[in-house]
């Protein structure tokens, strides 16, 4: 069976294992985004458009560098520009390439009710299978990073695929290919962590004492990681969450509540069944009819006035 995926470790709304014999020998992959090297040229955005054949609508210029203004169903990656005045009074231009973080513990996949609409490959990539998507938007509800977007045209959810089609055949993602400064690098997660450690050591030696790697453990780590000058304040980078995790409400809704609710419904129905078996139906006897007739007076005639229907 050509083109069959044998490397699926997680599949939405599926309780049994998926075909997963194929494991990446080199381990999971990761994209490292070094915000300290980014010059905001948007080559990555253009490369994403080109490789994925996406052309977003032309937006309006509101006097900023951030175009488009937000991720959309057709803009899967976006440079977010933040102007930060540091305590010394200097301006810092913090530019962050936003897009799917490819969480190890993906909230979107957890929330998705449609079997196989979201999968996670053994290399760590989280991918939407739009043909199985029903357009409910639960992935948006589950995502801690506000990434998925529902198309107004086809009501399917879209986001960065980490170029799963390129990675599957040994190529690096399109954005990596286009980056002119080496701010974007791609490889095994292990290698990327090693590379990030060198970058962080270098930054610290140059006065960025809070430089660090953003690989949040609240979502089991991510397969898209950032090197930040201010790793202690990720929210400076256009609201990158400090300690992202799948919301406890979503975990409850999509976790324990599912089997519990089915169990309660089944028990309620069973209680009725066994009540029927043990106690049986409550039936009107002739004695009741006779008593009712006595209550009604001697002999009710056909001329008995019709009862008043109360508030019908």
């Amino acid at each position: 069976m050509p083109l069959q995926s044998l490397d699926i470790v997680r599949r939405s709304a599926t309780t049994l294992p998926s075909p997963s014999v194929r494991e990446p020998a080199a381990g999971a992959v990761a994209k490292l985004i070094d915000t300290t090297k980014c010059i905001g040229c948007k080559a990555c955005q253009v490369a994403c458009m080109e490789w994925n054949d996406l052309r977003d609508e032309i937006g309006t210029n509101v006097g900023g560098y951030q175009i488009p203004h937000d991720l959309t169903d057709k803009s899967w990656t976006l440079m977010r520009f933040a102007e930060y005045e540091n305590p010394k009074g200097d301006l810092e231009w913090l530019i962050r390439k936003d897009g799917c973080m490819h969480c190890q513990d993906p909230g979107c996949l957890k929330a998705c009710p449609s079997p196989g609409a979201i999968v996670q490959y053994s290399n760590g990539i989280v991918d939407f299978m739009e043909e199985n998507c029903i357009g409910c938007g639960y992935c948006v509800t589950g995502c801690p990073f506000d990434i998925p977007r529902i198309s107004k045209r086809d009501h399917k959810a879209y986001k960065c695929t980490l170029c799963s089609d390129r990675v599957a055949v040994g190529l690096e993602p399109a954005c990596i290919k286009a980056c002119p400064t080496g701010a974007l690098v791609f490889g095994t997660k292990e290698d990327m962590r090693g590379h990030a450690a060198e970058r962080v050591a270098d930054l610290k030696s140059r006065g960025f004492e809070h430089a660090g790697l953003y690989d949040p453990s609240g979502v089991g780590g991510t397969h898209v990681m950032y090197v930040l000058h201010h790793a202690d304040q990720p929210q400076l980078y256009n609201g990158l969450p400090h300690n992202p995790q799948v919301s406890p409400v979503v975990r409850l809704w999509k976790g324990l509540s599912k089997p519990t609710a089915l169990g309660i419904m089944a028990l309620t129905a069973l209680a009725g069944f066994f009540h029927f078996i043990r106690v049986g139906r409550n039936e009107v006897t002739d004695a009741d009819e006779a008593a009712a007739a006595r209550l009604d007076g001697a002999a009710p005639s056909p001329a008995t006035p019709p009862s008043q229907e109360k508030r019908t």
Binding site: S114, V249, V250, L262, H275, G280, V284, L295
Partner: protein, 219 residues
């Protein structure tokens, strides 16, 4: 609409209008529950095939729910006053062991609805209000852009909780109708025997006797 008069043996319990209203709510409930459960648990996703697949289930479910809620609103206004709790209903409820064991000798007389029915009615009102508000919040096609993700997360969980309580309540409601013989006939053909009214809703039977010559409202 023709109104069958009370006969010597039977009393009208539900007019044709009320029966129609009830069954619109009931059909709406069944469709909303089946489509909702398809989206709630992966083991029940196959139920979406009944509605033409996953996307159609997602599209239809909110509209079906709205029809149910609107129809229930009419039904609720019809039966509202008869469902106010009275002291005798609490006594009736306290003796629930006698109730479930078909021992009715020591139970207080019951009006048009018993304490259990009244509690269930209250539960349905609360659940449907919760389902309506949370359901609108998570109706992404129309309202997805207006609420924060935090609100939508809580609404999603609340929607499932209200649905669970409502579904269990309706299971009890359906079983009670099967259990108390004559109830299904009341809601399908409209009438109950005088003996049935004497046994299950004696105070209501007395009220209908004292209602004098007033005629049923033409529907």
């Amino acid at each position: 609409m023709s109104q069958e008069p009370n006969s010597p043996d039977t009393i009208i319990r539900y007019t044709a209008a009320v029966r129609t209203n009830h069954w619109i709510v009931a059909i709406g409930f069944v469709l909303a529950a089946l489509s909702g459960m398809a989206l709630f648990h992966p083991a029940l996703f196959w139920l979406s095939e009944l509605f033409g697949g996953g996307p159609w289930t997602r599209i239809l479910h909110p509209y079906v729910g709205l029809v149910m809620v609107v129809a229930f609103l009419f039904l609720a206004t019809t039966v509202w006053t008869d469902n106010r709790m009275q002291p005798r209903d609490w006594t009736w409820l306290k003796r629930w062991r006698d109730v479930v064991n078909n021992r009715e000798e020591d139970l207080p007389e019951v009006g048009r609805y018993n304490g259990g029915q009244k509690l269930l009615f209250l539960l349905m009102v609360l659940c449907l209000a919760g389902l309506l508000l949370s359901g609108i919040s998570i109706w992404r096609a129309y309202f997805g852009l207006y609420l924060s993700v935090g609100v939508i997360r809580v609404a999603s969980a609340l929607h499932a909780l209200c649905a669970l309580v409502l579904i269990c309540g309706i299971i009890v409601h359906i079983y009670a109708a099967v259990w108390v013989k004559g109830s299904v006939h009341a809601m399908t053909r409209g009438t109950v025997t005088r003996g049935w009214a004497f046994k299950h809703h004696r105070a209501w039977l007395r009220e209908t006797r004292h209602a004098g010559n007033s005629r049923p409202r033409p529907d």
